[in-house]
């Protein structure tokens, strides 16, 4: 055990049990999985991605590259979880990744022996070998060897939410600068959101022995938190990572609502995705401790110096029985001394500089910590660290230590400033990139901005918090910033120890200093190329700790210097975001809304099988007991409709109410045919084009009064047509006096078709004359049905039979269906679904979505004769293009299989009989097919080159995807009743 005797922000009065790789351990509330493992003396936490090298934790935050575990078990198993951010809970189970058979003995660590072959550019070079080698040999081996954790193999049992929050000032990060900014902004009355990735506010202040306003840093954090909690205009969001900055001052964040618990609380999500709309933002995300590249720097026990200190001071966990620190800067030395004061056995501080500041040297002396100046760590040994070799101008020596804290200085955490394209700029005085252009409304405070001294962080946070509030319209009273003692910020830029042995730049991707040199030799010198070639900075940590070292090494090699070398682009998300939380509520059956028709429950009771058409749930067919498949049901429905009467809910059509003196003018301009001349009480089929001359939609529009029409659109295009009409009225012809209203939801509409439909209708109308004379084909009647229910009756036919569509207010839709069923019972009325509807429209040669596919013009569909020559309309000019009049264009015709028993398939391409199946010989394709129970064989509609000229010709229908290849006979698309007599009786 390496738990320190006392101290730390952990609740030692309570003990939590947990298991790692099946072994039981204990920890305390306030621990992370990483701190609890370290406190239990577990230093080996994972194996590296490529070489399977043993690895330990290197950070105490979300930038962790190494300590990735599979958290939880079963359906909740989550791979690649950073042990450094997992809050310990009782019963936690975690497992190491990427090792076999065990973490301790990993067979594939032999990869290290072949590492010369797995170096930079390995993937690219291997791909150049014979393809067969790749497939049979390399890929299986690599799949086994490389890879991170395993995804769970059962559906995620948890729920997720998405929410939107608005604020005047968003403060990201709750360290010294963030707390000061939130206080300054909060006191002005501005709405403030303070988002903190950690489960506890305070940032580095939780780990450091600083004096603020005369008290401890922890007292300052507690006071600030208490004040902020008391302000009704401030929302504190711990466990919330702001992962992206987006256009329009929007930020994306994930709140881990239940990740610190064994399972989310009842009725609560596991995580919540926040879209935060902020007028202003103060980014106070702190800085990363910069690693130093030296031989053996990846051995478990070697970690960030600030992490080493954090484990000791915040978590009361020693990273080893004894420790040393290898540093380049005062901050790390001070933190190490804090750790020693907290009880960590710190044997030595090895600093690259010739001397430490007097105050730090004196503290070290008082604590009995040896200081080795001008020192560099040149080697390490042990599976987990046992000793280090230190080289100074005075000679070399070996120190026996279990932990080594390393700090090469601070790298400002400026990722979010780059999300809208901002480029960091190099500051020579602090040897670091700092934010350049930042997203509109964002200001950067504290270490993220390159401001490192505590007093300066507090002052900058206060200043920027106040100015953010004032920019958002709140008068911030000029309250003084919290005061802190000066903290030394001396440093020496130092990135890389020269020496023999593997020195790792990116531990997550096993990229070594040698790989960077190889990339340089092979010409991949630009940082973005370096990244792709070596994989440096990729994967779950996105190089938060490694990028800086990588580009410093490249700068060293090219001799260009770091600013000219540049840095790679940071993109969202800042840390990995689960797909589940991006989906939120919209999974499974809630993936999208399911729109029921007014007769849905009735259809369900009839045993209908439903099909999704867009968002709508429509009855596909109504199987009866004894029917062996859907086709048998559909055949019965078609026959019953053609021989007697059938009924179908067509409420899903788009319905648009048009009123005003100019409706006729508008319709003339949007349809290819005339509507201003339509008589009141009549309906007409219309086709509308896009301005490019292709067909947009079709449907029937009826004139209810002089200045009142009602339009129907196809189910799929309801919203699109409405938008188009608004475009015409608002943008193209604003002088037209037309008022639109969507009435798609208001009216239920049921089609009754078949030779007996008039008799059925006659039984439910309230005294309306529905005779052929009283309500002729394409006539419209308004009145009531079922004893007083307002109704509109349109005599239309999609099936080709005598037919009517009856519209009633939606609440009466189900009752209308029941009334029709009762009235039609003597005639054997049969409900039919969209399958039978499709069969009947193909039998009649009516076009539908498969033909109105955005690639066909009116002429292609045989509708050119409908086009009026007496007026202009949208798409008219472009429809006149020579290409659209080319007789070679595939044009709508019907098809019958020559072998009448054969099955036709939509998608088959047409070829001349005997022609080879090449693109040059392609003559069009089949758009729709159905088995026609009326004719007793399959029929099809399709677009065939010069189709109408080729009646009776045999062509080849070639369908290689499904192995179809047959001869079909070209015929009229109207398979039955080509003169349309049945619908007019």
């Amino acid at each position: 055990m390496t738990r320190l005797v006392d101290g730390g922000l952990i609740d030692r009065s309570r003990t939590l049990s947990f298991a790692f790789d099946g072994k039981s351990f204990t920890g305390h509330p306030g621990d992370t999985l990483a701190s609890a493992l370290l406190a239990n003396g577990v230093r080996l936490m994972g194996r590296s991605f490529k070489y399977h090298r043993p690895r330990g934790v290197v950070t105490a935050g979300s930038e962790e590259p190494n300590a990735l575990v599979e958290l939880r078990t079963g359906a909740r198993r989550e791979p690649n979880t950073r042990a450094t951010t997992v809050e310990l809970y009782d019963g936690l189970e975690a497992a190491s990744q990427n090792r076999w058979p065990s973490l301790d003995v990993d067979v594939l660590s032999v990869n290290r022996l072949v590492s010369p072959f797995l170096g930079a550019g390995f993937y690219y070079k291997t791909f150049m070998w014979p393809a067969a080698f790749w497939e049979k040999l390399y890929e299986p081996v690599i799949r086994r060897a490389a890879g991170l954790g395993r995804a769970p193999d059962a559906p995620d049992p948890d729920t997720y939410e998405k929410a939107t929050a608005f604020c005047d000032v968003l403060v990201i990060g709750s360290g010294a600068a963030g707390l000061a900014a939130a206080q300054a902004a909060g006191r002005s009355g501005a709405r403030v959101i303070l988002a903190e990735e950690d489960f506890r506010l305070g940032g580095r202040l939780l780990s450091e022995r600083a004096v603020i306003d005369g008290g401890s840093a922890l007292d300052f954090v507690a006071r600030a938190e208490a004040e902020l909690s008391s302000l009704p205009n401030v929302r504190l969001m711990p466990r919330t990572t702001v992962f992206g900055a987006y256009d329009g001052s929007e930020y994306g964040a994930v709140e881990r609502v239940g990740d610190h618990l064994p399972a989310p609380l009842p009725f609560q999500p596991r995580q919540r995705l926040w879209r935060i709309v902020a007028k202003r933002c103060v980014l106070a995300a702190g800085a990363f401790d910069r690693p130093i590249v030296f031989p053996g720097n990846d051995r478990p026990g070697v970690m960030s110096a600030l992490a080493l200190a954090t484990y000791a001071t915040r978590y009361g966990a020693g990273a080893g029985a004894n420790a040393a620190v290898f540093s380049t800067n005062d901050h790390a030395v001070a933190a190490a001394l804090d750790a020693a004061e907290a009880g960590l056995k710190l044997d030595a501080i090895i600093d690259v500089r010739p001397a430490l500041p007097d105050a730090l040297a004196a503290r070290a002396k008082a604590l009995g910590v040896r200081v080795i100046t001008e020192g560099e760590v040149v080697a390490t040994s042990g599976k987990c660290l046992t000793s280090i070799t230190v080289r100074t101008p005075r000679g070399s020596e070996t120190l026996t230590v279990e932990a080594l804290g390393v700090s090469g200085g601070a790298t400002p955490n400026l990722n979010l400033t780059c999300h809208l394209g901002g480029k960091p700029v190099w500051r020579e005085d602090i040897a670091a990139f700092v934010p350049g252009a930042v997203p509109p409304g964002m200001a950067v405070a504290g270490a993220a901005a390159g401001t490192f001294a505590l007093a300066d962080c507090l002052a900058e946070g206060t200043r920027l918090g106040a100015s953010a509030a004032s920019d958002a319209g709140f008068a911030a009273s000029p309250a003084p910033a919290p005061q802190a003692e000066g903290s030394p910020t001396g440093f020496k830029p130092f990135f890389h120890v020269q020496g023999k042995g593997s020195a790792f730049v990116d531990q997550q991707n096993d990229v070594t200093a040698k790989d960077v040199a190889l990339a340089h030799r092979e010409g991949f010198r630009a940082v973005e190329l370096l990244k792709r070639y070596t994989t440096l900075g990729m994967a779950t940590d996105q190089g938060k700790t490694s990028n800086m070292a990588g580009l410093a090494l490249m700068a060293e090699l090219t001799g260009k210097g770091i600013p000219a070398t540049g840095t790679t682009v940071f993109r969202p998300p800042y840390t990995p975001v689960a797909l589940g939380v991006l989906a939120g509520h919209h999974r499974g059956i809630d993936f999208k809304p399911a729109r029921p028709t007014p007769t849905h429950e009735w259809a369900l009771a009839q045993g209908a099988v439903f099909v999704e058409t867009g968002l709508w749930m429509r009855a596909a067919y109504f199987p009866k007991p004894g029917e062996k498949d859907w086709l048998e049901s559909v055949n019965r429905e078609v026959k019953a409709t053609r021989e007697a009467v059938g009924v179908i809910d067509v409420s899903t059509f788009g319905k648009i109410d048009l009123q005003g003196p100019d409706v006729g003018v508008l319709l003339d301009r949007v349809y290819i045919n005339m509507f201003s001349t339509l008589a009141v009480g009549k309906a007409r089929y219309g086709v509308m084009l896009r301005e490019d001359g292709l067909v947009m939609d079709d449907g029937t529009t009826a004139r209810l009064a002089d200045d009142h029409y009602v339009m129907t659109t196809t189910t799929a295009n309801a919203a699109k047509v409405y938008q188009h009409l608004e475009f015409c009225l608002q943008v193209l012809w604003p002088e037209l006096d037309v008022c639109l209203a969507s009435v798609s939801e208001q009216w239920a509409q049921i089609a009754v078709s078949g030779p007996r439909s008039r008799e059925v209708l006659g039984k439910i109308v309230d005294g309306l004359d529905v005779s052929n004379a009283g309500l002729p084909f394409m006539g419209v009647a308004q009145g009531s049905v079922m004893g007083g229910v307002e109704a509109r009756i349109f005599r239309l036919s999609f099936s080709g039979e005598l037919g009517y569509e009856i519209a009633v207010p939606a609440r009466h839709g189900a009752a209308l269906m029941q009334a029709l069923m009762a009235a039609g019972a003597p005639f054997g009325i049969t409900p039919y679904g969209v399958e039978a509807l499709g069969v009947m429209r193909i039998e009649k040669g009516h076009v539908s979505g498969s033909e109105l596919n955005g690639q066909t013009c009116a002429r292609d569909l045989g509708l050119a004769k409908m086009a009026s020559t007496k007026k202009d309309y949208i798409g008219r000019v472009m429809a006149g293009r020579p290409a659209f009049a080319d007789p070679d264009r595939p044009t709508l015709v019907g098809f019958k299989p020559v072998d009448r028993a054969a099955r036709l398939r939509a998608g088959a391409h047409f070829l001349k009989v005997g022609a080879a199946a090449t693109t040059q010989n392609d003559e069009g394709y089949m758009t729709s097919t159905a088995f026609s129970p009326t004719l007793g064989h399959f029929i099809g509609l399709g677009l065939l080159k010069r189709g109408p000229e080729r009646m009776g010709e045999k062509v080849r229908a070639y369908d290689p995807v499904r192995g179809g290849d047959m001869e079909v006979e070209v015929c009229s698309p109207a398979f039955i009743d080509p003169q349309g007599e049945k619908q007019r009786v």
Binding site: G248, E250, R275, V277, Q723, Q730, P734, R876, M878
Partner: protein, 90 residues
């Protein structure tokens, strides 16, 4: 991205449908060069780097077509007005 709708206020861009450049106007269909003019109207577009007037439709809101001035480099929106009459078309 948020678009300040003159009627509804600032709304998420998800509520809007994008059409594109607001500059082209529908040519006179009876002009002798109508075929060429329509070809240009339908297909030919500039792709400026900088401020551009665009047509957006507030499909999930007030159902007004808007002329939005957006900088194509930064997505900054500097002006929004009702398309067409400038008075919401009513």
């Amino acid at each position: 991205m948020r678009i300040p709708c003159p009627y509804c206020g600032a709304r998420s861009s998800h509520e809007f449908a994008y059409l594109g450049d607001a500059a082209p106007t529908r040519p006179d269909p009876s002009a002798p060069d109508a075929a060429e003019a329509f070809h240009s109207y339908v297909y030919e577009r500039d792709n400026p780097a900088g401020p551009m007037d665009e047509l957006w439709y507030h499909s999930a809101g007030c159902r007004r077509w808007l002329k939005v001035t957006r900088d194509t480099r930064t997505h900054a929106i500097t002006a929004v007005a009702f398309a067409g009459t400038g008075e919401g078309g009513r």
